[in-house]
């Protein structure tokens, strides 16, 4: 399993549109992608689940990637987060 942390800089947090884009990005990988905040966890492949975490600006999320392509998935998703959120 690959794990990394990321602090959200987007002013409204993981709001609907980028959440949708993140789901689309995560679905490209075979690995499970989970996002954790304050002890709650959501699948990055499920839009409503992800939005219900209520991730705001300044929140530090933990991203856990587990599966066959976890190395690429973790690296690419981290880059995606940096560029978009």
């Amino acid at each position: 399993m690959k794990t990394f942390k990321y602090v959200i800089t987007d002013p409204v947090g993981i709001h609907a549109r980028p959440a949708g884009q993140l789901v689309a990005a995560a679905k490209k990988y075979a690995s499970n992608v989970d996002i954790e905040l304050n002890g709650k966890s959501a699948s990055a492949k499920k839009l409503i689940n992800l939005m219900s975490l209520g991730v705001k600006q300044g929140n530090e999320i933990t991203v856990k990637v587990e599966g066959a392509d976890e190395d690429t998935a973790a690296a690419e998703l981290e880059a995606w987060l940096k560029a978009n959120l």
Binding site: V7, T9, P11, V12, G13, H15, A16, R17, G20, V23, A24, K45, K46, L47, I48, N49, M51, S52, G54, K56, G58
Partner: protein
């Protein structure tokens, strides 16, 4: 005449007949189905149709109301692809042996409840999106069309407006919105702002209002039903005055900030975070004269690291595309809740351990911010401003730290731009030694709020002092005049970023004193521009 007070989410005045936008909510009927597999297939087909419809609506809305407002349809299409949502509907059909309409309505209710129970306003407002998508599928399932067109300009009144409803409304025919529910983050609010029409929430909308005359006053948040003739006259006059002002201000967009006798003034904006940058550009701000960096530090568990800060500064600098962005370093004291700094409670925080005093005592915090600022300066036109300065020694110590941060960056091979360094003149002590300070810095920015509080020894928040408080006290004006003159003698430009900078009754006075820049809240840029264009620089 009936009067209701709600909350204004966009200002302005509108007068016209009410169109009650009813949910026409026929209860979704629940009935038993035997062939659940066929019912699930019926749902999935309707869902696919709804997603296709949303694609068409999206493309149409992009043309009509722009990408920002049209994005809602894209999001809705994605929500309809959501596994949890669809699984829950499939499951209801299968286990309860019920029709797809009922299962979709149930899922809409449940998921919308989940969002409405969240703390954050933005996520709370997403409850309406969940209802909206479920109703869209139900509409397809029951073969209904979207609601009809509007014939004459109307005030739209509703319990709540679905995001997709607001976008589909004929924009030419909508004078105002008044709803019972909704929030400042709702799509209705965003749309009202884009369309520049008044909008109210917390109004007890009632179907019996349909067709009756009404007034929406977005300045006071008032909704008046069947206005009396004298009230109607009064509101019409207010509306016309309002429209004239708006038109005038729109005309001022793109114009120079130049006095009648040809002197140009820099007119910049004060912002508290990234989210305000859009308003700066919308209102034609020539730059950012005060970016309060505190917001990066507030509402967190620990200090923001260099990377976090760098990204924010870089983003503002890039968005402002070469225009000056003056960023003020951390201005925090015991009056702000930042637990991780471990500041002691103070009896008099306004005169206490705050702002530059913290930064010079805990240089690690300061150096992190400076590194982030200098790194970001490679991506735009950044200037750094230091708050709460009282002495020449403070400025020299800051300069030593800056020099060391720069050589550290040089050693790391990190590029940075040419960064102007300036100070806030917000203590009487600083104002009185501006002749000396001007030799040390590139610019002064006069913070009139604190300067007034410290000069008059009056707390502006204390309402008992209202009768003593003189915002235009001659002592303040003398200190401003002195700061401008001394700044210019020492080769520093001088701006004003406090509230007085936006006081249009003083604009001409400041220009005649020789001020180079005024920095005001984004919404005040155009009114101040108007005042500049009516002023003479020479007495």
């Amino acid at each position: 005449m009936e009067k209701y007070t709600g909350k204004s989410i966009f200002s302005g005045v509108a007068i016209g007949p009410v169109l009650y936008y009813g949910k026409k909510e026929e209860q979704v009927k629940r009935y038993k189905v035997e062939d659940t597999a066929a019912e699930i297939e019926r749902y999935d087909k309707a869902r696919q149709q709804a997603i296709e419809d949303l694609g068409v609506l999206h493309d149409d809305a992009v043309k009509k109301v722009g990408e920002e407002n049209a994005a809602i349809f894209e999001v809705h299409a994605m929500l309809l692809e959501d596994d949890d949502f669809n699984d829950s509907i499939h499951n209801t059909i299968e286990t309860q042996k019920v029709n797809a309409e009922y299962a979709a309505a149930l899922a809409g209710d449940n998921f919308s409840k989940m969002f409405s129970e969240m703390d954050d306003d933005y996520f709370k407002a997403r409850a309406a999106d969940m209802k909206d998508i479920s109703e869209r599928v139900i509409k397809v399932l029951s073969g209904k069309k979207d609601s009809g067109t509007i014939d004459e300009p109307v005030i739209i009144v509703a319990d709540d407006l679905m995001p997709s409803e607001t976008v589909q409304l004929d924009k030419e025919k909508v004078l105002a919105f008044a709803t019972q529910y909704g929030s400042a983050n709702s799509h209705t609010a965003i749309l009202a702002r884009t369309m520049n029409i008044p909008a109210l929430i917390n109004i007890p909308a009632d179907p019996s209002w349909d067709g009756r005359m009404a007034v929406v006053d977005g300045h006071t948040g008032t909704f008046i039903l069947d206005p009396d003739p004298d009230v109607l006259e009064e509101m019409k006059a207010l509306r016309d005055k309002d429209n004239e002002e708006r038109k005038l201000l729109q005309e001022l967009k793109g114009k120079d900030n130049v006095t009648l006798d040809g002197k140009k003034i820099n007119l910049f904006a004060n912002i508290g975070g990234l989210k305000d940058v859009a308003a700066v550009l919308q209102n034609d701000g020539g730059g950012i004269g005060l970016f309060r960096s505190e917001f990066i530090y507030l509402g967190r568990e620990d200090l923001p690291d260099e990377e976090t800060q760098f990204k924010i500064y870089k983003s503002v600098a890039e968005t402002m595309a070469g225009r000056l962005v003056v960023i003020r370093t951390l201005d925090i004291g015991a009056d702000k809740q930042v637990d991780y700094l471990g500041l002691d409670k103070e009896d008099n925080p306004a005169l206490g351990f705050r702002a530059i005093r913290i930064c010079l005592t805990r240089p690690k915090i300061f150096r992190t911010q400076l590194r982030a600022l200098f790194r970001a300066s490679a991506f735009g036109n950044i200037a750094i401003m230091y708050p709460m300065i009282t002495s020449i020694e403070e400025v020299r110590r800051i300069k030593e730290i800056v020099a060391s941060v720069k050589s550290e960056l040089d050693a790391d091979g990190i590029k940075y731009g040419d960064v102007q360094q300036g100070i806030m003149v917000e203590t009487p002590a600083a104002a009185l030694i501006t002749d000396e300070l001007a030799k040390e810095v590139d610019f002064f920015s006069i913070g009139t709020n604190d300067l007034t509080q410290y000069t008059l020894a009056m707390d502006r928040q204390n309402s008992k002092l209202d009768s003593f408080y003189q915002p235009h006290h001659p002592a303040i004006l003398k200190l401003i005049q002195m700061t401008i003159e001394n700044g210019h003698k020492g080769g520093a430009w001088v701006g004003i970023c406090g509230e007085l900078g936006a006081d249009t009754s003083l604009t001409e006075t400041f220009i005649q004193m020789g001020v180079d820049e005024l920095s005001v809240s984004p919404s005040m840029i155009l009114p101040v521009r108007e005042a500049i264009r009516k002023s003479h620089a020479k007495r």
